[in-house]
């Protein structure tokens, strides 16, 4: 009992640590990445005791210190309680969502099988959507509590956008559920280890390519990043819902956004790119379709899997950064039109086609 609780706690802490750190690193990557894209030098001034060489580490330390030492401003006619609550509401869903994303297969230690996933619940994907639907509150409440018209506009934009894209997101995942026949993420990832025609990994991207595009678009919209950053839209509505936030609370919004980004990247990797799967790597080692095996110890396999998952997440995070620094921003009505008139019908069509194909393949069983 105690050991199991300890294992769960360890896994939860590990995931939380990874997500938060990755979010922090993303803050640095975003700055350095944008600088790389735009022929600039980027953040280079964070020095500890005059030593600025370790840009990443220094920025990781300097950033929170800078934020936390700033004045925590609450608008005088705003709502104090809700103003404080909103950043927590924004950060909370982003962090708890990662609980159901598996980051590896089972690890066998001393005869005990440890499922490398914080919580394996049988409604996994629905849990993710439930938590994603709660992340609206951070925006709406923050916007309302600020008592600022720009905030309110941002809040209304954000709420409308996130609710709209949740629907498209949910429907695009439906295809995955139908193909793999389960809601459990660990099950989905395991099913992606099979091979199609003996050589192609059965990853979501090959079975549901349209859904991948729809899901990625919706995921970017859910993370409120360019081209969907209307709730913030700094040139239009100052900073949208977090106009009146500063200091630590702003840091929480900021971290929340990056954590959401990491979570979205994790979801894309899990649902469409095989999660922790490495092609042809089974529990005992590589089994190549062209014959030949390369057996590996169990620990190496697990490490490979976790490494593969991390690599995939990092890759998609980087993709988000690339996207952010390439595209312009949509307008409010264009976002709505895209969501309701393009993504939603396409997602429905995808579900239909998937259903027809599945029934046809099963041959009217």
């Amino acid at each position: 009992m105690i050991v199991e609780l300890g294992i769960i706690a360890a896994k939860a802490l590990l995931v939380l640590f990874m997500v938060l750190n990755l979010a922090g690193v993303m803050g640095w990557v975003e700055r350095k990445g944008s600088a790389l894209i735009q022929d600039r030098i980027g953040a280079n001034r964070a020095s500890v005791l005059g030593f600025a060489g370790l840009g990443l580490v220094n920025t990781l330390i300097a950033d929170p210190i800078k934020f936390l030492t700033k004045e925590d401003f609450i608008p005088p006619s705003g709502d104090r309680l809700l103003h404080t609550l909103a950043p927590c509401l924004a950060l909370f869903p982003a962090l708890v969502t990662f609980a159901v994303i598996p980051f590896g297969d089972v690890l066998v230690v001393g005869g005990r099988e440890i499922n490398l996933q914080v919580a394996n619940i049988n409604v996994g994907i629905l849990y993710i959507f439930a938590m994603a639907s709660l992340s609206v509150y951070g925006i709406v409440i923050g916007a309302w509590a600020s008592n600022n018209k720009f905030s309110l506009l941002g809040g209304v934009r954000g709420a409308a956008q996130m609710i709209s894209y949740e629907i498209a997101m949910g429907l695009s995942v439906m295809g995955i559920l139908m193909v793999y026949g389960t809601l459990e993420l660990q099950q989905i990832v395991r099913s992606q280890g099979q091979l199609l025609w003996g050589w192609l990994p059965a990853w979501g991207v090959f079975l549901q390519p349209v859904a991948l595009l729809l899901f990625s678009a919706a995921a970017v919209a859910e993370t409120k990043r360019i081209p969907f950053d209307l709730p913030e839209g700094e040139s239009e509505i100052v900073a949208g819902f977090h106009t009146e936030y500063s200091g630590g609370k702003f840091l929480m919004f900021f971290t929340g956004e990056f954590a959401e980004m990491v979570t979205s990247a994790g979801l894309i990797a899990t649902l469409y790119f095989g999660g922790w799967q490495v092609p042809y790597l089974l529990r005992d080692g590589f089994h190549f379709p062209w014959g030949g095996t390369w057996l590996l110890p169990q620990l190496a396999v697990v490490l490979l899997q976790v490494g593969a998952f991390t690599l995939k997440v990092v890759f998609f995070c980087w993709l988000f950064v690339l996207l952010r620094w390439t595209l312009p921003r949509f307008r409010y009505d264009q976002v709505m039109r895209l969501g309701w008139k393009m993504l939603l019908p396409l997602a429905l069509l995808n579900v239909m086609v998937t259903g027809v194909v599945i029934v046809a393949l099963q041959g009217g069983r």
Binding site: N122, A130, A132, L134, I141
Partner: protein, 165 residues
Amino acid sequence: MTAPVLLFFVLAALSVVFSLAVVFQRNPVHSAMALVVTLFLVAILFLTLDAPMVGILQILVYAGAIMVLFLFVIMLLNPEALERRRALWWGLGSIAGLLLVFEFADFLSDIPRQAAQGAAVGEGFGGPEQLAQSLFHDFVLPFEVASVLLLVAIVGAVVLAKREG
């Protein structure tokens, strides 16, 4: 007292506190937030009753969608206005509520005590598969009717809230 009972009492106490906040907070936004928390707590209660699917749906539909709608409307209308209290109504209403609670208590004390988790249920009770089995086998007609109801609600809402041009 075992762990489940303790958990129940904590959840129950919290949900009562927050539902009282729903009713007695003067600021509608605070009420709405309290209701969100209540719904969340009730969803957890559903989980303790082996209804994970319904619990998640509760968060997804109620907390995630319906309450956002409420907040939206509150913000669009008058966020400032606080209503006047009327002592008489408050007194009468509270008394009525208390009477209702006592009535329940009285009624409940008559039925024989049994454990909520009494019946033996199989693996996956309340999971998506079982719910789907029930919905799409035994309750297909109501399910379709519900979808029609939602459609009617959408049309109705659009017609009602549309501005007369």
